[in-house]
């Protein structure tokens, strides 16, 4: 049996996480890439093939939606209410993961 898609399991990959986070305000594809690089001090960058695939997946899961088209014909996207809720749940999940590690490693 193929492994379930992480979105279906209610989790976000690092790529989806950062895309969703940068789409709290509407942006087009390349601006999403740039925003993420700036946000993470170039620590995290998304390749164009990964970006295209993930945008399509987020659209299909209705976590983001088409916002409009900019003057140079670039499609812009924005996170949906469902997307924001999903993101908040993911932040909580990641916070707990950090806490578990700190509980164990805290004394070191």
């Amino acid at each position: 049996m193929p492994r379930n898609d992480s979105l279906e399991m209610g989790e976000l990959t690092d790529t989806s996480y950062y895309i969703l986070l940068s789409l709290v305000e509407a942006k087009h594809g390349y601006l999403i890439m740039k925003t993420i690089e700036d946000m993470t001090n170039q620590q995290f960058s998304i390749g164009p093939a990964s970006m295209y695939t993930t945008i399509k997946k987020l659209l299909a899961a209705e976590l983001i939606t088409l916002f409009g088209e900019s003057k140079d014909k670039k499609k812009t996207y924005v996170a949906t209410e469902k997307g924001i809720q999903f993101l908040k749940k993911e932040i909580q999940r990641r916070k707990e993961m950090i806490k578990h590690a700190e509980d164990i490693l805290g004394g070191l």
């Binding site: 193929p2 492994r3 992480s6 990959t13 690092d14 790529t15 594809g29 390349y30 890439m33 960058s45 998304i46 390749g47 164009p48 093939a49 990964s50 970006m51 295209y52 695939t53 993930t54 997946k57 014909k73 670039k74 499609k75």
Partner: protein, 179 residues
Amino acid sequence: MKKKKYIMSGGTAFAEKEDLQKLSDYAKKGWLLDRFAFLGYTLKKGTPQDLQYSLDFQENADDEYFMLFQEAGWQHVCSAGHAMHIFSAPEGTKPIYSDVETVIDRYKREKHSVGKAALSILAVMVFLLLFDVMSLYGWFPEAVGTISDILLIISTVLLVFPGLPYFAYQRKLKKLGNI
């Protein structure tokens, strides 16, 4: 002097890395990828340069797709069957795939696509086999059986082209822990 050159492909399902490395080596010598050719690539003479090549499979590629690559520094070189796309970029440009999840998605798309082709050939073969048996029992003239036999041999050969890549993608996905 010759301006064009043909090189063989190892089959993108089996030797993608090797193919792309070969293209990059040729670019250093001034032979730049021009387009896909039958079971290979056509190169054209140009200025020697350090280029890296990447291949992607995307059947629904639209303007947005090519624009994203362009803005990330990847130049579209050529496409085959509106699904296979090759891009080139100066060495040091970040890779087109940045996470394993989307690489898995890509192989799934390719597996699905060759699987569909293999299935349609198999469906034709079932009918041919049926004709063959029916002519054996005298329900069809003998000639129908003979023609079915010939077509069966041809379709078996044709089946190799999507069939082997199907198993190659299956193996790649297994390696990535997805099956």
